[in-house]
Symmetry: C2
Subunit: 206 residues, 2 copies
């Protein structure tokens, strides 16, 4: 796309470097910013430099945090005996937004994927095993994606910890709440039958 200004061109290029934003959408977003007043655009830009300058990984659970220990790890009301292992910071946010979980987290920063050249040493696995030694953990919930790589990673953790005195659980897989049975995919439906739960247990759920 040929643009009438090299400043617009630069801004469009930066915007289009983000995932899922093409040249045309980028231009639309940039022109929206052009129409705003200078202070508003300055605030927009500052939010990103501030972010990069101030953010770090929590030294315990490796989620993104403003301080060296994140507000979940710092919170005395959270249940320290349960750790939920997730792939990414976004998964922490997704689980937090359910308001169902009151334990701790451990963010691996990805999953084992030989195809992409990601091995166990590229993830926060050693730090997880160290936490299992240092902390008084009763249960480890493996909340990794039900994909080939996710299950490989779960299995890797399972093998390392299966002889320890800790409950290893994984999030339930089945059909989504509100899904019509006839439209559910075969794998999920099969899992939901294989791992059926006592009806009475379902009565206590919201």
């Amino acid at each position: 796309m040929q643009l009438s200004s090299k400043f617009i061109e630069a801004a469009v290029e930066e915007m289009a470097s983000l995932p899922g934003i093409g040249q045309k959408s980028a231009l639309r977003l940039v022109l929206t910013l052009v129409k705003r007043d200078e202070q508003s655009v300055r605030r927009f830009a500052k939010a990103f430099t501030d972010l990069k300058e101030n953010i770090c990984l929590c030294s315990k659970c490796y989620t993104l945090s403003d301080e060296s220990l994140c507000n979940i790890c710092r919170n005395p009301n959270r249940d320290g005996s349960t750790i939920c292992v997730v792939e990414d910071v976004r998964d922490v946010l997704a689980i937090e937004n359910t308001h169902f979980y009151k334990g701790m987290y451990h963010v691996l920063g990805g999953r084992i994927s030989p195809m992409d050249g990601i091995g166990p040493d590229d993830l926060q696995l050693q730090s997880l095993f160290q936490r299992m030694e240092d902390e008084d953990v009763n249960e480890l919930i493996l909340a990794l994606s039900p994909t080939m790589e996710g299950e490989t990673t779960s299995f890797y953790i399972y093998r390392k910890l299966k002889d320890k005195d800790v409950i290893l659980s994984t999030i339930a897989k089945g059909i989504g709440v509100g899904t019509e049975l006839e439209y559910a995919d075969e794998l999920s439906l099969g899992r939901s039958i294989e791992h059926r739960t006592p009806f009475e247990a379902s009565l206590h759920r919201s």
Copy 2:
């Protein structure tokens, strides 16, 4: 959404303030930026402040420009006897990208829309009529959207200029190139029959 860092929260809020970007996409984009190195994020932010500080409207055609006269108005190879009237800067870019047009532009900055409280005085119409006095213009192409407001604006310009010695034309409306006739909407198909062109003329087109 509850986030673990107020800096992420601020960045997500700014990103989600752009049109078509929701909270979840905003978070995804912000986390992409977090993963980049500091210099790259600084460049990202600087592109927008630079943009706002350096950009202005061309004093002649009112498109966005780095200088007081845009590079189209400054270009001696462009045909100054033809002016194409468009609503928005994006329309200039769209037409420029066709590489079909070698004349000048005039950006109105919107269209007459009494419903939104936009009257002729809110647009660059007076400056257009002034250009018709000052410049040696042979043809004025009305390239406004074929909507109610676009046609109202076109008609307003037509009424003001119809007695002047200038050819007033409008972009052809019909069915899009590559469209299957059976899927074309009735209005476009109707227009394309009403404004049919000599077959020989179509032979010269690319």
